[in-house]
């Protein structure tokens, strides 16, 4: 059996049982063999092989880190120097990043082997992976279903066994929802924990980079490398992130886990069983469950779909056909250049969000929508702060359903927006949140979500790690043909 987890690869590298070159060849071959998933937008075998050889030399010199020689890949919203960086948009189809994002630079410094860039919903706007200008990504568990989004390729590439971990970004659930749909563990750290330098902006007060992998152990390894203060990001939180071992080893027996019952009642009946078993499993680990209420968290969807598009409409004004990206043919004047370059370069959902954001920010509507959404955001943060007075962390569903069919919600933006209802509250409040596999329903993975107070990533990683020591959901794999 081929090695498909980061920790197994690391152990094999440390024991001299394999090499970075061998692991990289295995990953490149898997990427080629599973090209039908459309997980990668750009694969760079030459660069990967060179990095693998350097990693082997570094390990031989006794200077390796946990990630040295591990093949990884990043969502194509992270800049990587000299590489195509498209955000899955026609707007940036021919653009190459002139520098590395901080998260990418830290992976490279650690000796990770970067295979290439992963597919996503255009500018991270979507919950299915279908909004990519370069075609949808398929779910390795069932190729007729979506892998979730917006970090669609990041989830599919791990679930398909191509790479053991990936970077994604999460503005409203874009790491956790695809992790849930693909049977993975995905961490959205506290807002500001992972630098946004070189991460193409969608909604700057919500965007946060993080990692997807099979287990909490592997997610912690990546997070400990990419996290920590970066002076180049003015919103970067101070302080460093603990080593992975420390992030995983907090005692969990005796912790109190808040369970907002209203969220559990709102999920599809097919998910009820695995979620109930997960709750019982936490109790068996010595965790006390406590029913709680989260006032205003149920109103997160409308607040988010005002705030995120408002920020997006502002951030995306930089795509003007002048400094980078697509430019229309033969513009008659500057205004024509702006309008047609943007009209041609952006896809349907991106335009929809720019229009929505422009509406929410326009004179006469600003107070009713934007200002009101910011007030709701305050109440949501307060309701979490209140909850954390009496509980150490929260457990709730990640998604209302398992992975849905490709095309099923393609023309129904509201149905897709509602997909995010359990994940959005953590983004609005800036909390660390993690999705972990808690079981299966009709052969499809079911995810559960852990939330903690700001900067307490270690608490939810430890809870997930303890859960994964006594369960095997994270060890299940899709079969070659699809559903296991």
């Amino acid at each position: 059996m081929s090695l498909d987890t980061l920790s197994a690869m690391r152990r094999a590298l440390e024991a001299g049982e394999t090499t970075a070159v061998a692991l990289t060849e295995q990953a490149l071959a898997a990427a080629e063999a599973k090209a039908d998933l459309n997980a990668f937008l750009h694969l760079d075998p030459t660069q990967a092989r060179a990095a693998a050889e350097a990693a082997d030399a570094r390990r031989q010199a006794g200077e390796g880190t946990a990630l040295t020689g591990i093949p990884l890949a990043v969502k194509d919203i992270f800049c990587s120097e000299g590489d195509p960086t498209t955000a899955a948009s026609r707007m940036l189809a021919n653009w190459r990043a002139p520098y590395d994002a901080t998260a990418v630079a830290r992976l490279k410094d650690a000796g990770a082997v970067l295979l290439g860039k992963l597919n996503l919903d255009e500018f991270a706007m979507g919950a299915s992976g279908e909004n990519s200008a370069f075609g949808p990504t398929l779910n390795p568990w069932d190729r007729t279903r979506v892998p979730g989004g917006s970090s669609s390729g990041s989830a599919a590439a791990v679930a398909a066994g191509i790479v053991p971990a990936t970077l994604g970004t999460d503005t409203g659930g874009s790491i956790r929802q695809p992790a849930a749909f693909c049977g993975l563990t995905g961490l959205k750290p506290t807002y500001g924990r992972v630098s946004r330098w070189g991460m193409i902006a969608f909604a700057s007060s919500l965007d946060q980079g993080g990692a997807l992998a099979w287990s909490a152990e592997d997610v912690a390894e990546v997070f400990s490398v990419i996290g920590g203060h970066d002076p180049r990001d003015a919103t970067s939180a101070p302080g460093t992130v603990a080593p992975a071992g420390a992030l995983l080893s907090a005692p969990v027996a005796g912790l109190t886990l808040g369970v907002p019952e209203a969220f559990f009642e709102a999920v599809d009946s097919a998910l009820q069983g695995p979620l109930a078993e997960a709750r019982a499993q936490f109790e068996a680990l010595g965790v006390r469950l406590k029913a709680i209420e989260l006032p205003f968290a149920g109103d997160a969807v409308p607040a988010y779909y005002v705030l995120a598009p408002a920020e997006a409409s502002t951030n995306l004004s930089r795509y003007d056909g002048v400094r980078f990206g697509h430019r229309c043919e033969n513009p008659v004047d500057l205004d024509d250049l702006y309008r047609r370059s943007r009209g041609e370069g952006f896809g349907p959902e991106v335009k929809r969000r720019i229009l929505t954001g422009t509406y929410a920010l326009s004179v006469g509507y600003y107070d009713a929508y934007y200002r009101q959404a910011q007030r709701v955001r305050r109440r949501i943060l307060e309701s979490f702060t209140e909850a954390f007075q009496s509980v150490d962390a929260l457990f709730l569903p990640t998604t209302p359903t398992t992975a849905f069919k490709l095309g099923e919600k393609r023309n129904d933006p509201i149905a897709l927006y509602e997909e995010d209802r359990f994940t959005i509250p953590a983004n609005l409040a800036g909390l660390p949140a993690l999705s972990l596999p808690v079981g299966f329903s009709n052969g499809l993975p079911v995810g559960g979500q852990l939330l903690a107070p700001h900067f307490e990533e270690g608490r939810i990683l430890s809870l997930a790690h303890a859960f994964q020591q006594v369960t095997d959901h994270h060890q299940q794999r899709p079969t070659a043909g699809g559903v296991a």
């Binding site: 807002y191 509406y359 007030r375 305050r378």
Partner: protein, 95 residues
């Protein structure tokens, strides 16, 4: 509240987005639907809650006022549609 095609055209002008008539019709429908979701905000009992722009109340991070190496102009302009001698080229603005 419904957004008719003229309202969509006004938003498109503000957003500097060229839209076809079909797109205008489509967005008129979908944005009207979205507004019914966003309108759930109205009437929520938020009381005197102060607007929250960013989730973390952190002090502004400052760094030493020292010159740092920056990405070269040539590298940044390599991705621009049209440049000349360090300038970005645009259609004539003054007649």
């Amino acid at each position: 509240m419904a957004l008719d095609p003229d309202a969509i055209r006004r938003l498109a002008t503000l957003s500097r987005l060229a839209l076809s008539d079909d797109e205008v019709a489509g967005y008129s429908e979908s944005l009207s639907d979205i507004l019914t979701v966003l309108d759930r905000l109205k009437g929520l009992p938020v009381g005197d809650a102060a607007p929250l722009a960013s989730p973390l109340a952190l002090p502004q991070a400052l760094r030493p006022d020292e010159a740092q190496p920056v990405t070269h102009r040539e590298a940044l302009q390599a991705g621009a549609p049209a440049t000349d001698n360090g300038f970005f080229l645009v259609p004539k603005v003054l007649s």
